[in-house]
Symmetry: C2
Subunit: 220 residues, 2 copies
């Protein structure tokens, strides 16, 4: 399968969602699915599904539908979910703990090899298969291990200084839950932000907008 | 300030980010800022900033920059962050707990009025100002309270059945951390999804793509 080099971010961002739906279908032992049926389940149009898949050379024959399992495996391979990138978790408060416990890192392309905090009450305690380490030891950990990704579950101010340090050790990839906008300060990094409070504020706007529209419709 | 009714979602999704940056500037006691300076700090272009603000009638006079405090207040008002929408948390596992402890609901337009779980070990325990309630009591809670928003921190299968129930009680707004695609089954709802694993998979793709490009550049 040919891989197009200039795939837009909006197509790429849909791939994990395809992957989730296809994994579900595999679990439900569905063998084949048409682009129309897949589109319907995902609230897309059949032509959008076909266009998306065409970016990667297409996965099926017109009229026969897609093999669910083959398609899932293709997308898994495009997303490189078997990469096992070495990752460290910075911050094991409520959020960091939830991230560590909740996410299937190995199935998503990552391997959690360290967890760090500054809280004396947490250091030395277990977190899944790891023991939480003192953040002061991050330098020697970086010397001894090749870290691909840092997962930041710390406040903005703490993130600013730890990113500077990790960047110095060559870390360029971040999964960022903090409010520090890393890419502004470090343009040569790759960042995925999870800004939960932005999502919550957007929801607030959309609810207010919907309520206003309902009121206006009633008044007409 | 006139509010345009047809503001694109991409503009709306930038508002929380503006709001965060402006809150920061207020904290740092910055009085005025030009669109150019704000754009630089946010990795946008000055013309994009001006265009975004023009959607809401514009906030400043050419050449004078914006009053940081006034701009922050305007955006707060557009986002309706003082709405205090009644919200319930469904699922107080690691993720639900992190969401409850980590988010400043009141400053984001929401009010957490209930937290529910099915785990006997959690029911009756405190969570911030709340006591965790048995999920079996959600019906009577819905009868007695007007719920605007449900926050779903539960697995997909549990989400499917609880959404059906809440929808029956008139709940139409969801902050969804589960993998259940609510809007496919219930098109007349407003959903903000936080799909953390999609973000992680996207990161995996982007890292792999970046590493491939580096390798190819070296080989050339």
């Amino acid at each position: 399968m040919a891989k197009d080099k200039n795939i837009s971010m909006s197509v790429i961002r849909r791939l994990p969602r395809y992957y989730r739906f296809l994994s579900d279908l595999v679990d439900k032992e569905v063998d084949r699915i048409s682009s129309g049926e897949l589109a319907k389940r995902m609230n897309l149009t059949a032509s959008q599904v076909r266009q998306d898949f065409n970016c990667f050379g297409g996965f099926g024959q017109q009229g026969y539908g897609y093999s669910v399992k083959a398609l899932k495996n293709e997308i898994e391979s495009i997303l490189s979910l078997k990469s096992g990138y070495n990752s460290v978790l910075i911050g094991v408060g409520n959020l960091g703990r939830a991230v560590a416990m909740h996410m299937e890192f190995e199935a998503r392309g990552f391997k959690l090899i360290g967890a760090f905090d500054q809280d004396r009450n947490l250091i030395g305690k277990p977190l899944n298969h790891l023991i939480i380490k003192d953040i002061d030891g991050i330098d020697s950990f970086c010397d001894e291990n090749k870290i691909d990704v840092a997962i930041l579950c710390i406040p903005k101010e703490a993130a600013e200084s730890i990113v500077e340090k990790l960047y110095g050790f060559g870390v360029r990839y971040f999964w960022n839950f903090s409010h520090f906008d890393i890419s502004v300060a470090y343009p040569d990094t790759i960042i995925e932000n999870v800004h939960m409070s932005d999502s919550l504020m957007t929801l607030c706007y959309r609810i207010t907008d919907a309520k206003r529209n309902i009121t206006e419709t009633i008044q007409k």
